[in-house]
């Protein structure tokens, strides 16, 4: 009996070790990015489409180019606190390599080789193309360095154990497109919605582990902070015309001439800087869903 227990614990330990090894944080191969040249001007478009500032600017700041982090996001798993992603070499991401930046966006892995929490929407950014990653990196290096220390997330057990995120990623991280896109415009719209804009991160409900519910993709979700509801974006939930959607993303005004509030006000502040063609591509893609 004692012997059986010993073997059982050995196998359990081995099993955990194998699981941890199989779900260890993934990184990109640096040679993949070595030959790419970043263009900061194109990177600025990626930056606005990606909405980086919405989460990483300071609380109640209007400066979308100052990214010291510090904003708190209340969820059922605890509070996430956005880190400093300014170009500061100590507190921000100034001393990263482009490959480290790519590993963060595409695999949710930090330069220290740890898993990031999916509050950082790498589940969407995983669909980014390499050139956009490189261009975004070029642009973000031009942003001001802010010597502000990042704060630790304040999470409940077991969510505060980062190693469990490997299993989470195995279950929920998938860089395939969710929906088909038949024309170049719909492809662009899909890229803006499913990859950069990461719309589904809020507009899709999550399961108990925080993974997106594929069956209810973009159909609206309860607000993670408890009060209110995030509306659905599929045509059965949103009957606005494509022009209405594009105008809303530009100005914040709904077809009833109410204006965006809540977190969506931040989204309009960044998506509103894209070209009219990009906003219309988003709108046409949303109208083509289902």
């Amino acid at each position: 009996m004692k012997r059986a227990m010993t073997w059982l614990s050995v196998f359990t330990m081995l099993g955990i070790a194998v699981a941890l090894w199989l779900t260890r944080p993934a990184v990109v191969n640096p040679t993949r990015f070595a030959s790419l040249h970043g263009n900061a001007t194109r990177g600025e478009v990626v930056f606005w489409a990606g909405g980086c500032a919405s989460c990483h600017k300071a609380e109640s700041s209007d400066d979308d180019l100052a990214l010291p982090g510090g904003r708190r996001f209340v969820t059922q798993f605890g509070n996430f606190i956005a880190p400093n992603i300014s170009s500061d070499p100590t507190h921000g991401i100034g001393d990263w390599t482009v490959a480290e930046f790519a590993s963060a966006l595409l695999h949710g892995t930090s330069p220290e080789g740890r898993h990031y929490y999916p509050a950082f929407p790498y589940t969407s950014y995983a669909r980014m193309n390499d050139q956009d990653v490189t261009d975004l990196w070029a642009f973000m290096q031009t942003l001001p360095a802010l010597p502000v220390a990042s704060r630790r997330h304040d999470l409940t057990f077991p969510f505060n154990v980062r190693a469990t995120l490997g299993v989470w990623k195995f279950l929920f991280l998938n860089s395939d497109w969710v929906r088909p896109a038949e024309t170049p415009e719909l492809e662009r719209g899909r890229y803006l919605v499913e990859a950069l804009g990461h719309c589904a991160e809020c507009h899709t409900p999550r399961n108990l582990l925080g993974g997106s519910l594929a069956s209810a993709w973009m159909k609206g979700a309860p607000h993670p902070a408890g009060k209110g509801r995030i509306p659905g974006l599929v045509p059965s939930a949103l009957d606005w015309s494509a022009e209405d959607i594009a105008y809303y993303l530009e100005t914040g005004f709904t077809p009833d001439f109410d204006s965006a509030g809540g977190e969506m006000a931040e989204v309009v502040a960044t998506i509103g800087r894209l070209s009219p063609e990009d906003r219309l591509a988003i709108a046409h893609y949303l109208k083509a869903l289902e």
Binding site: E243, E266, V268, G272
Partner: protein
């Protein structure tokens, strides 16, 4: 007193009663919250006129665009202190309002955003009569001011 006189009296009495009832109805709820919501409706009506032209749903008309933008500027510049009275937030009025108490707390940027709206509305008033493109460009500033306030001070 003949029949027609009788009838006329009755009609005027009923009209008066109806008017008084309507008057009382208009005073349902908190007057400050009602005034704020009425003010918002006037913004929305004028934004609808401008927005329809911006989206191309109706033809752009410089004169209508200019006068409508001037309405928005006039609304933004109205003195509203009385109807943003302290003690009229969601805490005191519940579902009658979506105005969060943080409007009246220390460090509130509510007043600054009001100034931001006046500036954006001034730019729209200048641009609206120029061209459809100039008008559309300036609407985003107004929308930004609206959202800045709704982002922080309106209940979701």
């Amino acid at each position: 007193m003949n029949f027609s006189k009788h009838f006329a009296l009755m009609v005027s009495a009923l009209t008066l009663a109806g008017a008084m009832l309507a008057h009382a109805g208009g005073h349902d709820g908190n007057p400050a919250a009602n005034a704020r919501q009425a003010h918002m409706k006037l913004y929305a009506f004028n934004l609808d006129v401008i927005g329809a032209m911006a989206k191309g749903e109706v033809d752009y008309n410089a004169e209508i665009a200019r006068s409508t933008a001037n309405n928005l500027l006039a609304l933004a510049m109205m003195h509203q202190d009385a109807y943003w009275a302290p003690g009229t937030s969601t805490v005191e009025l519940g579902n009658e309002t979506r105005a969060l108490p943080s409007i009246w707390e220390d460090g509130s940027r509510f007043g600054d955003i009001g100034v931001q709206l006046i500036e954006a509305a001034s730019q729209l008033a200048e641009a609206a009569g120029e061209s459809q493109d100039a008008m559309r460009g300036a609407i985003r500033g107004v929308g930004g001011a609206c959202s800045a306030c709704h982002r922080n001070y309106r209940q979701r």
